[in-house]
């Protein structure tokens, strides 16, 4: 996995970290001032920006080196970034009263299950790789 950390992958992590911080702050701020009419904007914007970041950096990354990890690096890094920021904000007392810890815990649990399944599939695919590259694509 260490060998699969490319420049574009680091750029992706940096980008999603910024997007996640902006999302968390904007969502909590709107909830604190109870602006219900605009509450859909942060999650919608977050979803769109995260999707575009994954698509853009994932494509660039694949063009650089065609790693065959069925997106597991991206899922794992997004998981780590999202929960590091979310729990940090929670423990620093930066969240609104409408964002109890149980919501983050449940999200962690559900996403954790999905991530575990992803890991199982990734380990199956990995056996066909040499240093992360699919055998049939190395000498194409």
């Amino acid at each position: 996995m260490k060998k699969m950390l490319t420049k574009d992958f680091y750029k992706y992590i940096l980008t999603i970290s910024i997007i996640t911080i902006v999302f968390r702050i904007s969502l909590s701020s709107l909830l604190i001032i109870e602006t219900w009419n605009f509450i859909f904007i942060p999650p919608l914007g977050y979803f769109l920006l995260m999707f575009l970041s994954g698509w853009y950096f994932g494509k660039k990354d694949y063009e650089y080196l065609p790693f065959n990890d069925i997106g597991f690096r991206y899922n794992l890094s997004t998981f780590l970034v999202f929960f590091t920021i979310s729990y940090s904000m929670f423990f620093l007392g930066q969240m609104s009263k409408y964002e109890p810890r149980i919501i983050i815990d449940y999200t962690f649990l559900i996403w954790g299950i999905v991530l575990t399944l992803h890991l199982i599939f990734y380990n199956k695919v990995k056996s066909n790789n040499i240093k992360g590259l699919p055998k049939e694509d190395i000498f194409d």
Binding site: E63, P66, K131, L133
Partner: protein, 120 residues
């Protein structure tokens, strides 16, 4: 018809040949991408052509797999040039590939068959 068949056969045959030619050019000495391209077109008598992008892409994969490496040196103008070379494991891989796949054609019987025009 004959020409079309030949073209079709050659198209399939040439796929996968690029690696061998890249490795041969690097066995000849350290080279940057333009020199590799020149070597390939010269010694393959223009039968193997490669796009610069696909050459870079292949080299990146080989560098990642540590069968090729590079040293940066100053070019005549502009940015530094990457001079690629075969690593020890790359050289070993090439020799294994040649002995298993290319040296077969050195067999007397096969050589004779390759050069004869008539069917026995």
């Amino acid at each position: 018809m004959k020409n079309k068949l030949l073209e079709s056969w050659e198209e399939t045959y040439k796929k996968g040949q690029l690696t061998l030619w890249i490795f041969l050019s690097l066995k000849d000495g350290k080279k940057y991408v333009d020199e590799i391209k020149l070597f390939i077109s010269k010694y393959s008598k223009n039968t193997i052509s490669c796009e610069e992008q696909s050459l870079y892409r292949s080299l990146r994969k080989y560098v990642h797999l540590q069968i090729v490496n590079y040293k940066s040196r100053k070019g005549n103008k502009g940015p530094d040039r990457k001079y690629y070379y075969l690593t020890e494991s790359g050289l070993e891989l090439l020799h294994q590939f040649i002995s298993r796949n290319i040296n077969l054609f050195e067999d007397k019987k096969i050589k004779k068959l390759l050069n004869e025009k008539n069917v026995n």
